[in-house]
Chain length 151, copies 2
């Protein structure tokens, strides 16, 4: 077994042993060195955002003092949900290894697969409505005119 | 202009005035009462996850002491990226109003639209590879056997 995936699995085990949340662990590695480890803490912290990958990303950014994780590799015990996948892209990570699949997550009841299908336009999990676009557009235009960074 | 969207816009303005991050604000409302407000803090906190919607969700969960935001409505000054959209779903929010669109975000240089296309399978922003599935599957099965919650 890959040594970093083994650490991700150990994080997942730690998470369920502590009843912190779902059975998921993640590790971030840079130049062969472990930068951060995380597991799902949704239950323990009452925070739906704290998936293993998000916890690992936030910790890596703290350790490296940057929001840019270029050249980092993420190992996760399960295929990232669209939230984590997008967070990985926003963090500029480009290489991800996962063990279990989103189908495996679905088979034990998690909604990852449904969220993928929603984003592809195949179901209606959410009502999304446009409102007051013209009123808010000027803020975005001001940001662009001021040369704001694209994070 | 809708009163809650106005607050979301004000948050966006606050964020760019303080140089906290991109020009985005969000507000969460329950039973007509504002529960939380947030703006993008990616730059200020070196944290790629802290989009306006994520900040508002995390704060609402703290205020209400739950990861379940059923019956909350989210107002955001721009259409949520897939990270935020998924976080909204994980938080059980089902009604979202947005002002600017993902095309507007793309037009000032943000990658929201590319991430949507990636999740739909239309580009290759990221290398995703399966590894050691069999070794990790047992952790998920143990969680299911123990009746673990689906967050």
């Amino acid at each position: 077994m890959n040594e970093f995936m083994k650490l991700a699995k150990e994080e997942a085990i730690k998470g369920i042993t502590n009843h912190d949340g779902g059975p998921f662990g993640a590790v971030i590695v840079k130049n062969g060195r472990v930068i951060s480890k995380g597991h799902n803490e949704v239950l323990q912290k009452h925070n739906p955002v704290l998936h293993a990958e998000i916890v690992a990303i936030m910790q890596a950014c703290e350790v490296l003092n940057t929001s840019d994780l270029t050249d980092c590799i993420l190992y996760t015990s399960c295929e990232p949900c669209p939230m984590c996948l997008s967070a990985i892209i926003w963090a500029n990570i480009t290489n991800v290894y996962y063990a279990c699949t989103k189908k495996d997550a679905a088979s034990i009841g998690f909604r990852d697969d449904d969220i993928y299908e929603f984003i592809k336009g195949h179901n209606e999990m959410l009502n999304l409505q446009e409102l007051n676009r013209e009123d808010c557009l000027e803020v975005m235009q001001k940001y662009q005119n001021d040369g704001g960074k694209l994070y």
